[in-house]
Symmetry: C2
Subunit: 267 residues, 2 copies
DNA sequence: CCGACCTGTATTATGCATAATACAAATCTG
DNA sequence: CAGATTTGTATTATGCATAATACAGGTCGG
């Protein structure tokens, strides 16, 4: 019952890639539980590596309990290790949907400090030159399995209104509005990045794993930034979801978000 | 000039680790623009590797335009490299915003066939058991630089209404509606994944790069799937963006998408 | 102006990842 | 049963990442 994540990831570049690729395919369902994957020779050709290299990747997957190898028969996917449905967050409401399995999330504070805002933060938040911000990094876990790594920047004048302890327990929105901030609008953008060493350790993934990256700037009614969020999510445990409806008619027909209609069966 | 994306991330395990570490520190501002980082010998000791290894990491960072090396003086951070504006797509309207640079996108058809739908596609689209689909893969480029890799699945009965040539020139939406399909709603989810060999080649990135992954199921008014899209985007050239507004009052205060208000200056 | 520190370059040596190949044992299929 | 395919295992060879070291040439501060 260990399933300690990627305790034994292949050192070599190629083997690691095969390992991560297959793990990804299993994680998002392209390789479903019970499927038996191509033979080692076949995989070697597909990835353009030798069979030895494929084997090293499969060794790691096997150690993770994600596959089961049978001599003569082949290798089948044992996706039970991943069986837990990922946490989904509705992109429009910003609310995680954890209800499904009675999941409860916990937050752990990794670092906490006050200091000058990094350039790109100051620019996005339209802060004054030397304005200081609170910089907090925390990791959220569901069922003791970390799925998101969050770094927030909040202007010091606002951040002084709540404590370090508040941050570990209460969503930042609540804290902001409780501090008298009138939230106006937000702008978020999504991309992808690779897991660096520190983040990898915090999220218990292999260095070089793919992560979903989200940046959000929240402004108050005057247009001044009150929160800058830089979030990294484990793709195997987290998804951004969104429902759209086609409305209008003729040439003005267009898409419109259907809030709260997220269905979980897309993947 | 060239700035060929992150095509050259170090092969070796240690060098890559140093590379990712430093890139992370630059990305989140711990190493700000203009800072000059420790000497190569110093870095080598810090990371517990040889100077040669550090150099390989720095070579990659330099190729990414993130640092600038000066003989005798030292190495300084050039965080501007993150500033190159990528193609942005509004998550709510599904419309790419290319106007900024007069970019025009072109599409290239990589493969095209009819066959049985993969399991996860059939499940998501609620297709009949042996229902065949058209499977098309194409790559979109802006200024001859590929940024997205799209695979679409469309039920054969619908797909027969347009030609292979149509697919390379006209957005799929148009084709569907022209085929008499009444589009009802869509469900999309976003995640991240690693670039496999084929995709890496098509997108001209290194194998093992992080890619933004988007899946979308479009249904008609009866709820039957008419399109399944699996898209992969280069994060250095593409972003999903979305603007939100805080509306309502009191306890019913919540977020709502602000369509068409995307601002480009978040990153 | 001199010494300290920096990047650039070269050399040699070692270990590990990878490739290529062959064969054994188990399993499935016709 | 026979042949094909699979995983398991072993062997050998090669290339590359890394380490350790040395030195040349530029830059900066005292």
């Amino acid at each position: 019952m260990d399933t300690k994540g990627s305790s034994l990831l292949p050192e070599g570049a190629k083997a690691r890639l095969v390992y991560l690729s297959l793990k990804d395919e299993i994680a998002d369902g392209r390789l479903a539980d019970g499927d038996n994957l191509p033979g080692e020779q076949r995989l070697a050709e597909t990835f353009g590596v030798s069979r030895v290299t494929v084997r090293r990747a499969l060794d790691a997957l096997s150690a993770d309990g994600l596959i089961e190898r049978r001599v003569g028969s082949g290798t089948v996917v044992r996706a039970n290790g991943f069986g837990k449905k990922p946490v989904a967050m509705d992109f429009t409401t910003l609310m995680p949907q954890l209800v499904e399995m009675g999941q409860s999330t916990t937050a752990r504070l990794l670092s906490f400090s006050y200091g000058p805002a990094p350039d790109f933060v100051a620019r996005a938040m339209k802060l004054g030159a030397d304005e200081k911000v609170q910089i907090a990094t925390r990791v959220r876990s569901a069922d003791d399995r970390p799925f998101s790594h969050l770094t927030t920047y909040v202007p010091e004048t606002i951040a002084r209104n709540y404590s370090e302890h508040d941050l570990a327990t209460t969503p930042l929105f609540k804290l902001l509005e409780r501090s008298g901030v009138h939230i106006g609008d937000a702008q978020q953008s999504v991309s992808a990045t690779l897991a660096g060493p520190e983040v990898a350790e915090a999220l218990e993934v292999a260095v070089g794993s793919a992560l979903l990256s989200l940046r959000r700037v929240v402004r108050d009614e005057t247009g001044k930034g009150v929160e800058y969020l830089s979030a990294l999510y484990r793709p195997d445990m987290f998804r951004l979801e969104m429902a759209l409806t086609r409305v209008g008619s003729g040439s003005s027909r267009h898409w419109e978000p259907a809030i709260g209609k997220t269905e979980a069966d897309v993947a």
